[in-house]
Symmetry: C2
Subunit: 180 residues, 2 copies
């Protein structure tokens, strides 16, 4: 389907509550374990989503509106959360993510974007020319890619425990395409 700004906002609004319902006060055996070296736990994903709220989505949207294709976005640091999340609890990260997301959606709504604004173009440092519409659709799909990843990382912890049922569980066949 085509990008629809209201559908995107509907989804972006829900993600903090989804992660909260799934992860808050869950045993650390689910939230702190990953899939092996250089992979992320649900705790790491929460930190990554916070970093995106601070440095990626709305800063890039505003850069498109202000500078168009003349300036490239600042590259996104996909490992920033190792530093930023240090010493924090998962509950603190979930609170921080919810607050930042709410502030960012407030800013997005205040822009009162019109269809012609969504066609405005910016420059991604690796992908080249992209539109504001594509950026906002990606913001929503990025939430989904990490919900997909968190489900997979958690299921991985029960890979042995499910015994022969592993053959029937699609999530255990997923090799983890997330980058990361």
């Amino acid at each position: 389907m085509e990008h629809n700004l209201q559908h995107t906002i509907s989804l972006l609004t829900r993600t903090p509550a989804v992660l909260d319902a799934l992860l808050r006060d869950l045993p650390e055996a689910w939230t702190l374990r990953n899939e092996g070296e250089n992979t992320w736990s649900p705790f790491d994903v929460a930190g990554h989503l916070i970093h995106g709220e601070r440095t990626d989505w709305m800063p890039r949207a505003k850069m498109i509106l202000q500078s168009g294709e003349s300036r490239s976005f600042v590259p996104f640091d996909r490992w920033a959360q190792a530093r930023d999340s240090e010493g924090k609890s998962l509950s603190q990260l979930l609170d921080e993510f919810a607050r930042l997301r709410s502030e960012n959606l407030g800013e997005l709504r205040a822009l009162k974007l019109q269809p012609q604004d969504l066609e405005r173009r910016g420059r991604h440092p690796a992908l080249g020319v992209v539109t504001l519409s594509q950026l906002l659709a990606t913001w929503a799909a990025h939430d989904l890619t990490h919900l997909h990843q968190v489900s997979r990382v958690m299921a991985h912890q029960y890979r042995e425990a499910v015994g022969p049922w592993s053959a029937y569980l699609g999530v255990l066949q997923c090799a983890g395409h997330s980058a990361p």
Copy 2:
């Protein structure tokens, strides 16, 4: 990690609220679309989870405790929701799933299972001998496989909308191993 009954119950308890936070009142463009012929929408998945609560998990657990390996489980109908969900709204399905899950977890807790109970064996019609521990771990992993699927099905709707970012979104590389 090994199966841990308390960790399993922690996760099973949360799934209705996770799906509620994600799907209730979300535009139907997200909840009713699937990935193509013979695939499931989030609405279909909700119906499938309800069918599991009614016919799969606790009925099988009780059969293991009552009959051991002497009786095979009733095969699970993976397409039952097409009939059972007819005429219902997604909100009704989410309510029904939450109620059934809560009842089933009440029954599970009431069994006061001990470690030796978890080693009791039953017979799966296709997989052969399985343990109660494996069945309960699979109940939790099955929730995760469908959360993984729902994330993927929803992201699929924005496959074109994200433009060149599709290369970076792991969820869009996932071919859908779920069966189905």
